[in-house]
């Protein structure tokens, strides 16, 4: 399933201002490939995920489009369509911290069977669980009796119960230890290799590098670069790569701007060492990068 996002913008009206969480974001995710959306906390990447799932709160306004398979626009689809035909069936959500996503007072089996029943699936819970590396007996446990890895697999099984072609994984590894991060990533990759499109949202560059085909770097509500991270071109993308502990390990100076008070020009200009006068205007996204000085 192919996702084509064009000019997606999300703003929130709050007392005393407007939050621009996503500004004119465009990207594509193809079947069988994984796009990693990377950026620091508060840059708008989770809001983007919620927009694709139709889960934004009432004070949000959305423009642009996010077209699935060239026929269904996730942005303009009415809520009943999103609820009955899209979520779980065509777009699956792999949640942040599966252990807290599951209902603590019900067994994994009860939750998986509920998902299958709601989706009208004929698949049975035990065989679905086996596909995700769980023994059928594991399903009779409560979430607190599952290890982090097993809880992750239950969450994956629920997300995939309706066989969606597009998976949105929102920080699926935050708070997990390294071996579990790697296992979660490898499982995500195998789902991708089955022909699903995967949008991986994370702040963990190293985890993303393990499985992503392409990276979209997000800064202050905008995607500033799309491509590989071997030779980043945008100064912010370069800074993020250099901040890795196995690279230069130096922070990017300064802090990101508030989403309520975005600068009128390039949002990275105040922190950028290579800024020039032209940076007082917002750079257009052209040929994979949005920067006046990128080579």
């Amino acid at each position: 399933m192919k996702l084509d996002v064009q000019g997606l913008t999300v703003t929130f009206r709050i007392p005393g201002g407007v939050v621009r969480a996503v500004s004119e974001v465009s990207f594509q995710v193809r079947p069988g490939s994984c796009l990693a959306l990377v950026g620091e906390s508060g840059c708008g990447k989770s809001v983007l995920a919620h927009a694709l799932l139709g889960l934004l709160p009432g004070n949000a306004s959305v423009s642009g489009s996010a077209v699935l398979d060239g026929e269904l626009d996730l942005v303009s689809a009415p809520p009943p369509v999103m609820a009955r035909r899209v979520r779980g069936r065509r777009v699956g959500l792999i949640p942040q911290s599966p252990a807290t996503h599951l209902t603590p007072v019900r067994t994994a089996r009860a939750q998986l069977e509920e998902a299958l029943r709601e989706l009208g699936s004929t698949c049975d819970a035990s065989s679905l669980a086996e596909r995700f590396g769980l023994r059928p007996g594991d399903l009779d446990r409560y979430p607190h009796e599952l290890s982090g890895g097993m809880a992750q697999r239950v969450a994956n099984a629920i997300a995939l119960a309706g066989d969606p072609g597009l998976l949105v994984a929102d920080e699926p590894t935050s708070g997990l230890d390294r071996p579990l991060v790697e296992r979660t990533m490898d499982e995500l990759r195998s789902l991708c290799d089955e022909g699903r499109a995967v949008l991986l949202i994370t702040h963990d560059l190293r985890a993303a590098e393990r499985i992503a085909d392409e990276f979209a770097i997000m800064y202050a509500s905008r995607v500033v670069e799309i491509g590989s991270l071997e030779a980043p071109r945008h100064p912010y993308a370069r800074g993020l790569v250099d901040a890795q502990p196995d690279r230069a390990f130096v922070p990017i100076p300064g802090t990101p701007p508030e989403l309520t008070r975005l600068p009128s020009g390039c949002a990275f200009e105040p922190r950028c060492a290579s800024a020039v006068p032209a940076c007082s205007a917002v750079p257009a996204f052209d040929n994979g990068v949005a920067c006046h000085v990128a080579s």
């Binding site: 508060g42 982090g148 935050s174 708070g175 901040a243 890795q244 502990p245």
Partner: protein, 209 residues
Amino acid sequence: MLRADGITVRYGRRTVLDGLAFELEPGAIVGLAGPSGCGKSTLARVLALMLKPASGTVSVDGTAVRGWRQRAPRALRTGVALLYQQPRLAVDPRLTLRAIVAEPCAANRVTLDDGVFDRVGLTADLLTRRPHEVSDGQLQRACLARALAMRPRYLLCDEMTSMLDASTQALLVGVVRQYREESGAGVLAISHDDVLLRRWADETRPLHG
């Protein structure tokens, strides 16, 4: 020397630490690695005098600890600071960032040295905000400033950066390293990220649960 001997901790019937000995020397940055659930955070809480072990002793610079939590003597408690993984769970949501950082000083009736804000890169406009108005990275900067406010002789960082992006991680680790250089404090760096510990710590010890 922050020293623990024969530490045993049980949660219900589960023994998490069994007769563990651990030493943190002043001026050293010791990494502590191990899978989730092996007792890293439990050890940090014992060393910070926040959790009374079932048996075993802790001493801070030669003074044996007799009381735990609120019963720990003030001088010992302020000598060891603990920094948590999730800043949002570690602050009072009603306070401004400035009040959060100043909390330990207020409790000990000393004045806060404002230089601590510069040190962690918190700008003046952020100090009047409450936790819900700032990002995780900005809130963790405030928590680090709070941990450093009383100039502890030992700083325990429990997965300090695992929720944060690479740039904020590099910044906070740099602040901790610089504090160690200036003050000669001992630092315990707990993380499941070996790559990070190789860069951050002088040596790394494994912990087996």
